[in-house]
Amino acid sequence: MPHIEVIGHKLAESLNGYSADYIEAHLEESQGSYITYRGRELESTGRTTAVGGNIRALVRGGWGFASFNNLDELPGKVKLAVKQAGLVSNGKSKLAKVAPVVDTVPAKIDKNPVVIPLTEKKRLLDEYNDVIWNTPKLQTSIISYGDGYKKTVFASSPGSYIKQERADITLRLTAVATEGNEVQQTGLSIGSLGEFDTIAKLHQQVEEMAQHAVELLSAPQAKGGEYTVVLDPVLAGVFVHEAFGHLSEADFVYENDHLRQIMTLGKNFGRSELNIVDSAAIPKLRGSYKYDDEGVPATKTYLIREGKLVGRLHSRETAAKMREKPTGNARAINYHYPPIVRMTNTYIEPRSASFEDIIGDIKEGIYAKNWYGGTTSMEMFTFSAGEAYMIRNGKLAEALRPVMLTGNVFTTLQNIDAIGNDLEMNQGGGCGKGEQMPLPVSNGSPHIRIRHCLIGGR
């Protein structure tokens, strides 16, 4: 295997010798393994290794980009990217100022998950599959496990040289229960920044998930209409990521006048209790890192503070164009793609209410848990909860079939009137944008209460 560090050093020294306003290089070595089950049978398993990189060049406002697996001809790639950028150039290069960094960031994990023998991983998945299959009325199961470990080198013409390592694990389990023509399913998604132990003791959760799929067969459907709704940390976290987070990504906003007006800083979006944050600087979450893929240090960015829009997520280019501070949110899923503005760990900050406080004065409402699916189009969202329960006279009551929540993002944010004290981060998600998915992110929230939320019957 060629050592990307050796190649990286040599390349870094040369990046200043070209007529470009800015050049950066990414080199990457990665390994991974996966196991999937469909029903009782293992469906596929494999191991992957990859080495590759890219060069990105900026010339008078135009970007060139060359990606490759073969690391032998790098000066030629730099020339190609510079030439391409020159063809695009049609203005002035604008990048927010960031001091060059030289640093080495090791993965802070006990054990690289990729090198754990597949036998060990399979044994664990077999145990989970047995738990699912031992549940009566269970029709089938789907399990998909994947892990990865990568080393990256980032070098830029102003003199940054950053070596980072990171690991990632995802596990998704689905249980499908049937009775007559009824089919119900439940799922569990877990992830971690490379710690295998975090997915190793889920037997209890898997059992509950499978049993819940069976319970749903006899559960009634919610009546459609407006309710006071309480969201659990998982669903509230997905809501804040999907419905609000994407609107905070500056590359959506900066060339769209319509959206720019909606997302004016200082505008009121919620009650004074509401704080929404994105931060890659929190340690040990799937969206955590020390430097983004432009070599910008991770920050903690308040998107909403005391109900007001106070910030958004930037790459160096969008920050410069909107005359705001860079936030270190430029990320690429791998070396095939240039970095674009992405979220990291996005969450609603906890407040003081306990779960009992939140549901205590609800006469009739719905407690919606877990994420099942959904879409957003700028202002409108529709989400499906994986689990739902009635709330009656301040207490949790009967289980319901999964419900669908729909509404306008901005009205819904305004209608959040209670925020719990029990922040939890959900690590099971992956985020897609353009062709680049799934990118490791996490999102979270405490329990929140939303007044006047529209629930559809499904």
Binding site: E43, G46, T49, F68, L87, L118, T119, H336
Partner: protein, 433 residues
């Protein structure tokens, strides 16, 4: 590659090495301006082995590191699925043209000029439109060798042009777009821009639609977004094997309208979906799927075919570097006799559907399609009168394609992987507000 095969043969009963390398050069316009020029080169090798009857699999981008690749494949073979197939020996392949050297030599300047022309033409028609456009050239080369002496290789060139426009007026958004691709260079962007201008013309006025079943003409783009996903699922041998395809037990039975013919065809010269063999080295063939409305075949790779006690149809495909699985190469719907204009003229009240949004989120396996009409037109008394908004269309292909009023005479390629005329269906449920 031979070295990898040699090493694998020493530790496994069967082995197959699949190598693909590609170079892609996209030129992209955003918000009406040239934004990126990129070049993406990739190469990767996949090793599939059969050891003690089980499949092992590993991939790498590192051609030099064969020992590690073999070790990884051997580890996964401890519990891979049981191999039911035999790799193909050396076989003759059909001569199918998929490579035009002229694609590679189109200059970046020329590509920028083509994209610029597309944007300029659309903008001169509608000055306040925001366009994203792309011009891409790429070449792919594939080589397969296996332990039974089988080997295959081919090259492919692809050139594509596309543009999407968004027109925002207050809170009203109109999305238009068109694209074209070929194994030849596409140096005349007029066909694409003309199609977009036509969409803009037809969409100038808004028309209202009643909430009731209406006759619908699906254009080629409309068929691609609404009807193709359920058809792809239904004819996939894996879906059939799992008992999840509604037509799985209806081979030889009339399921669709007698006028309907559907083929999977990777043999058409210079089409992006064409190739002499599939990703397992099985020779390409034209497979009839629907003949005169009757279900005649499903699509198989080697393993699925073996499990279903049938033969591979040459549809083994490796998406995202995974194990081969059945997948269509290119769907071809045979044209009929009715022109698009005749279809419109025949309609008293109905819809023309160009693009459905979210059509494939429903129960695709069951044949359902439903979605918001992203681009579609209202027909009144034989004339298109304007675009429709806030309109949901839903149906099931097993009802909608059971009785087709007419099949169009003008075929069109969509995305290089579907060739179809418009279809005129008597009744689709429409909801509007």
């Amino acid at each position: 590659m031979e070295k990898i095969l040699g090493q694998a043969k020493r530790v496994a009963e069967e082995a197959e090495v699949f190598m693909v390398s590609s170079e892609e050069t996209p030129v992209q316009f955003e918000a009406n301006r040239l934004k990126h020029v990129q070049n993406k080169q990739t190469s990767s090798v996949a090793l599939r082995i059969v050891k003690q009857g089980r499949v092992g699999y590993a991939t790498t981008t590192e051609l030099g590191d064969s020992q590690n690749l073999v070790t990884n494949a051997v580890e996964t073979a401890q519990f891979g699925m049981t191999a039911k197939f035999e790799l193909p020996p050396l076989t003759p392949y059909p001569q199918i043209e998929t490579y035009d050297p002229d694609v590679k030599s189109v200059s970046l300047e020329k590509m920028i000029e083509l994209g610029g022309k597309l944007v300029a033409t659309v903008k001169s028609h509608t000055p306040d439109i925001l366009c994203e456009a792309g011009v891409t050239k790429s070449t792919v080369s594939v080589r397969i060798i296996n332990s039974r002496g089988g080997q295959a290789n081919y090259r492919k060139s692809i050139f594509s042009l596309g543009i999407e426009g968004t027109l925002i007026r207050d809170t009203d958004m109109l999305f238009v777009g068109e694209s074209e691709s070929s194994c030849h260079p596409l140096l005349e962007p007029e066909a694409v821009s003309k199609a977009v201008l036509r969409q803009l013309e037809l969409a100038k006025n808004q028309a209202s639609v009643p909430s009731q079943p209406l006759p619908v003409i699906f254009t080629a783009n409309g068929i691609a977004s609404a009807l193709i996903p359920p058809l792809m699922a239904a004819f996939n041998g894996k879906t059939v094997l799992q008992g999840a395809s509604p037509i799985g037990n209806r081979l030889g039975q009339p399921v669709f309208d007698k006028k309907l013919w559907l083929w999977d065809d990777p043999t058409v010269a210079y089409r992006p979906g064409s190739r002499p063999c599939d990703d397992e080295g099985i020779p390409s063939q034209r497979t009839p799927l629907i003949e005169q409305g009757t279900v005649t075949n499903f699509l198989y790779d080697l393993q699925t075919a073996a499990l279903a006690y049938t033969k591979s149809t040459g549809n083994g495909s490796r998406s995202r570097g995974g194990l081969p699985a059945p997948s269509p190469s290119a769907f071809i719907i045979t044209p009929g006799k009715t022109s698009f204009d005749e279809m419109v003229n025949d309609m008293k009240e109905g819809l023309v559907i160009e693009q459905l949004m979210g059509a494939s989120q429903g129960n695709i396996l069951g044949g359902d399609f439903s979605g918001n009409v992203l681009l579609g037109y209202k027909v009144e008394n034989g004339k298109i009168v304007g675009r429709v908004k806030n309109t949901m269309v839903s149906g099931n292909i097993y009802q909608v394609l059971k009785q087709i009023t007419a099949i169009g005479s003008e075929t069109k390629w969509v995305g290089g992987f579907l060739s179809t005329p418009p279809l005129y269906c008597p009744e689709v449920s429409v909801a509007s507000k």
